[in-house]
């Protein structure tokens, strides 16, 4: 496994270059068979991503690659651009410059030779199937039962048969421990249950990558565990996951890699043992000191 960050557009990136090298060696220890030449395929490639809202530049040139099966946790203060980065990955936000490539496709654009042509909304929608997303506020469809929440999109978007989808949905609900709630409306479920349904709903589209945008931040403390457990089990299946979170313990135990963002750039990137337990960047150090 390797940490690959293209630093060509990153301001002040040179200073961190050595740290990344070290991170690379450390990750290498666990899987000695891999080295630079046989690195895994990058499923998600983020290149020079910039995004402003009004006059405020939220992302100031982010480069990041995520390999297939990797679990990457993104940590950082609120306002550091974590959520915006995530929303750019499935093109819910259109970046001002730079691009996101998922599984070889530039999100939101059609690649013709040297130029990118913006996709129509319906075409962009088709692309998003590859990227599952779980939101902080669950966002289940309140007018549909749990089962309909799961079945609706694959049936309408992918045109798959309802009967087979129901079987699949039941299996997924069982995985997240909610097989008894198939006919319930979301409003009758607890936050933790809703979030587990939301995870199952995203998985129904058979995505290549799963994005989690602070999935436990809106939950009562006693409900956080059940959602993290579901995510942990998903990670164990080999799903590629990018998780924006404040759960440092989860990042340490489950993530292959932790990315620390501050002020719109990636300041630290490496295995949890390095970024969480031995942070080098002062921003990471102060952040972790307040979290622990």
């Amino acid at each position: 496994m390797s940490i690959s960050v293209d630093a060509t557009q990153q301001t002040g990136a040179e200073a961190m270059e050595t740290e990344r090298e070290q991170g690379r060696h450390e990750t290498g220890q666990g899987e000695p068979s891999r080295d630079e030449s046989s690195r895994d395929e990058a499923v998600v490639r983020i290149v020079g991503l910039r995004k402003s809202f009004g006059g405020l530049e939220v992302l100031k040139g982010v480069d990041l690659e995520v390999e297939r099966g990797q679990v990457v946790c993104i940590l950082g203060r609120s306002g550091s651009g974590k959520s915006t980065l995530l929303r750019c990955i499935n093109h819910l936000e259109r970046p001002d410059s730079g691009a996101v490539v998922v599984d070889g496709f530039v999100m939101g654009y059609r690649c013709k030779g040297e130029t990118l042509h913006e996709l129509r909304p319906s075409e962009a929608a088709r692309q998003r199937q590859a990227v599952g997303m779980v939101f902080q506020s669950f966002n289940l469809f309140p007018h549909l039962t749990v089962m309909e929440n799961l079945v609706e999109a694959p049936r309408k978007v992918q045109g798959r048969r309802r009967a087979e989808l129901v079987v699949e949905a039941q299996a997924l609900l069982k995985d997240v421990g909610l097989e008894a709630k198939a006919d319930a409306y979301p409003g009758t479920l607890s936050g933790g249950q809703q979030q587990r349904v939301a995870i199952a709903r995203a998985l129904m589209m058979q995505p290549t990558v799963m994005l989690f945008d602070e999935p436990t931040s809106a939950l009562d403390p006693e409900l956080v565990g059940e959602v993290l457990e579901a995510m942990k089990r998903l990670a164990a299946t080999g799903m590629t996951m990018i998780v924006v979170t404040h759960e440092v313990a989860f990042a340490r135990n489950v993530a292959d890699r932790v990315v620390f963002m501050a002020d719109g750039v990636v300041v630290e990137d490496g295995p949890p043992s390095q970024v969480i337990d031995a942070p080098r960047a002062p921003e990471t150090q102060t952040f972790l000191a307040t979290m622990l």
Binding site: N90, L92, P121, S122, A125, R126, Q127, R128, Q129, V131, G132, M133, F135, S137, N139, L140, F141, P142, H143, L144, T145, E152, A153, K156, V157, Q158, Y185, P186, G187, T188, R201, A202, M205
Partner: protein, 322 residues
């Protein structure tokens, strides 16, 4: 009971009410009476009885004539006209309202402004005036024609008064006015669906049209339907304004009869009866539809379980009264 606490007395409690430390509270309960509620029920009930008695015995109501005209063919024809007018003006108003609401929300500033001015005009002037205005439209444009714009040759054309029949004017006036109100109701409903819902549907790969139809619209309808029901009921009643342009609706049919025989009161009672019957049916239908679209929302109207009248007046505080 010698342990009366001074604080208890200070709070207005009597020392002898205080239970001893080892004493259990009694189990038999005398519930609070509501004498004012009972008295007002009796009083209002008596007044209502008096009104009913007076209505039944006052010969000026001419109940015999009411019954005579209730199913009069002319009245029935008028009722049919009123219903046709209501249904067609309402459905056309709904369609135009959807278009206007879409324009109003649109990011295109020209569309949104034009829709805004339309709403401003048609909601800001009385429907009655709009109807009379359309009725006299021939004074503005004596001839209606389709021609090449800005003074080119005419393709088809007709005299305004030939085109604008009473029915056409009535439908035009009611529709244009209704569209303005429906547009605001629809817009409100669409804006009431949280943006998160759209994002969640987008993240699942739904196209804009699909997510509108399957996710946004069903949720917006929950907000749109109750006021729309009110609009239908309102339309049924306001359509009586077309009597001013002599369209033989329910009211004008009655007016035609009583202008000849001066049986004004019985005929107005007949008309009111039919309006009340129609609005009552619509109210029941509206409640059904609301319940259907309230699925999955805890605050949705549930089937009512009334307690007995006696119990509700006597006022056992559990159940019944809220």
């Amino acid at each position: 009971m010698s342990v009366a606490a001074p604080t208890g007395a200070a709070r207005g409690r009597h020392a002898h009410e205080r239970l001893a430390a080892d004493q259990l509270p009694p189990t038999s309960v005398v519930q609070l009476k509501h004498p004012v509620r009972l008295a007002s029920a009796v009083l209002v009930g008596l007044v209502a009885l008096a009104v009913l008695y007076s209505m039944a015995t006052n010969e000026n109501f001419q109940w015999g004539r009411v019954w005579f005209y209730l199913f009069d063919p002319q009245i029935m024809a008028g009722l049919r006209s009123t219903l046709i007018l209501t249904v067609s003006a309402m459905s056309m108003g709904l369609v135009l309202g959807v278009v206007l609401a879409t324009c109003r929300i649109s990011r295109n500033p020209v569309l949104s402004t034009v829709a805004g001015v339309y709403l401003w005009f048609f909601r800001g002037t009385p429907l009655l005036i709009q109807l009379i205005f359309w009725f006299n439209f021939a004074a503005l444009y004596p001839r209606l024609s389709l021609s090449v714009p800005f003074g080119g040759p005419e393709i088809v054309g007709a005299s305004t008064n030939e085109v604008l029949t009473v029915w056409f004017v009535a439908l035009l006036g009611l529709t244009l006015n209704e569209a303005a109100y429906m547009a605001e109701i629809i817009r409100g409903g669409l804006l009431a669906v949280p943006k998160h819902q759209t994002e969640a549907a987008q993240a699942l790969g739904m196209s804009p049209l699909m997510l509108f139809r399957r996710i946004v619209l069903p949720q917006a309808l929950r907000v749109i339907i109750p006021p729309t029901g009110n609009q239908v009921i309102g339309m049924l009643k306001y359509s009586s304004l077309v009597s001013i342009i002599a369209l033989p609706d329910l009211l004008y049919s009655a007016q035609l009869i009583y202008s000849q025989n001066f049986e004004t009161i019985p005929l107005l009672i007949v008309v009111s009866f039919w309006y009340l019957l129609c609005t009552s049916i619509l109210t029941v239908a509206q409640r059904r539809v609301e319940r259907h679209y309230g699925r999955g929302t805890p605050g949705a109207p549930a089937p009512r379980t009334p307690g007995s009248l006696r119990r509700r007046i006597a006022g056992t505080t559990q159940g019944g009264t809220r």
